[in-house]
């Protein structure tokens, strides 16, 4: 366990006082390393709360710069940061909130050539990206590198959150058990043109952050094997069961995917049109 400074004891006192966290749990958080894909709508609340919680090392990848149209939901950025790389803006905000946190920035796209090497250094991966090809790439990389993955996605007024750790728990599914491969181009909405209720990103992202902290601490019941589905218009969360698919091409009995694959980006809206 680390030696807390007085400032840290005060900063984290509301955590330390929780029997489920305590000084030991807080120490664990400070020694944890989390890697996040995306410094956008979901990445903003995740990064903010993980930094506040004192997760010691946070890696964040995003190739974009801050745009004024982001500020309706991407609350880790602000007006003065327009044009700045999102990962730099996120780092400034996180370190202003909590100087204990070391932030590693990755101002480029996650690809099959870099993803495994990057995530190898981290304990837990959080996906808040905006496209299917990256979701499959990250899922597969996490499976090969045996890293737990907390995945969040949203569309207009709906959100989904799931934890995937097929390497850790018998019967726990991966993302491909849920969806074996990306939808063909044009069949499922995947891009920001569809519109998004800004505060939805907060609802979905903070669930990811809560789940990440639980995973790091090893407390409570993991979300692995369930899919949380949020409908903001009905103000309703549903918890659906996810099963490991014995026919999963990645983690099933006879896997056909034994190395990373890159899918083309599909970016049309026909599914709902």
């Amino acid at each position: 366990m680390i030696d807390f400074t007085e400032e840290q004891i005060e900063r984290y006192s509301r955590h330390i006082i929780l029997p489920e966290v305590g000084a030991e749990g807080q120490s664990k958080l400070l020694e944890s390393k989390v890697f996040m894909i995306g410094a956008g709508g979901l990445g903003s609340p995740v990064a903010y709360y993980l930094a506040a919680a004192g997760v010691g090392t946070i890696g964040i990848a995003d190739a974009d710069v801050v745009d004024s149209s982001n500020l309706q939901r991407q609350i880790i950025h602000n007006q003065d940061r327009i044009g700045m790389p999102k990962v730099e803006s996120a780092r400034e905000t996180m370190q202003a909130l909590n100087p204990d946190v070391k932030v590693n920035t990755y101002n480029y796209f996650i690809t099959e050539d870099n993803v495994r090497e990057i995530i190898r250094d981290y304990d837990l991966i959080i996906d808040g990206c905006d496209n299917f090809p990256t979701r499959f790439l990250v899922n597969d990389a996490c499976y090969f590198e045996k890293k737990p993955l907390i995945s969040g996605a949203m569309f207009r007024f709906e959100g989904q959150v799931a934890t995937f750790k097929p390497h850790q728990e018998k019967g726990a599914p991966c993302y491909r058990c849920l969806y074996p491969e990306p939808p063909p181009a044009g069949l499922v909405p995947s891009c920001s043109e569809a519109g998004i209720l800004g505060a939805l990103a907060g609802a979905v992202g903070t669930i990811q952050a809560v789940e990440a902290i639980k995973e790091l601490l090893g407390i409570g019941e993991s979300l692995a094997g369930r899919l949380m589905v949020f409908d903001a218009l009905r103000m309703e969360w549903k918890k659906l069961k996810l099963h490991k698919d014995p026919a999963c091409p990645l983690c099933g009995e006879n896997p056909t995917i034994t190395d990373l694959v890159t899918y083309e980006q599909a970016c049309e809206l026909k599914f709902g049109q």
Binding site: G38, Y179, P183, L233, K241, F271, Q273
Partner: protein, 92 residues
């Protein structure tokens, strides 16, 4: 027998904006056919050309994925809720 079917946001255009519709049917396959009759265009969003449920759309009866029950043959009972849960990818 009529069951309640939850319609996800991307498909609500086809149900006149309704997030939930009541559909007659005794199994999932019948529900899909009757959904199509009531709201044309829904079936091709849910099923491929062979009538199989598409792999990036999951159909749930209560909290169970029908792929792990009897698929389209999954028998429904009074009070069951059918949910359509498509893959979504947005995060930005």
């Amino acid at each position: 027998m009529s069951v309640s079917v939850r319609i996800p946001t991307p498909l609500r255009k086809l149900t006149g904006g309704a997030d939930e519709v009541a559909i007659e049917g005794t199994n999932v396959g019948e529900i899909i056919e009757n959904l199509e009759a009531a709201h044309p265009g829904l079936k091709e969003r849910l099923c491929d050309d062979d009538g199989e449920i598409r792999r990036f759309v999951n159909v749930y009866v209560n909290d169970e994925d029908v792929r792990f029950l009897e698929g389209r043959g999954t028998v429904l009972k009074d009070g069951d809720e059918v949910s359509i849960v498509p893959a979504i990818a947005g995060g930005c």
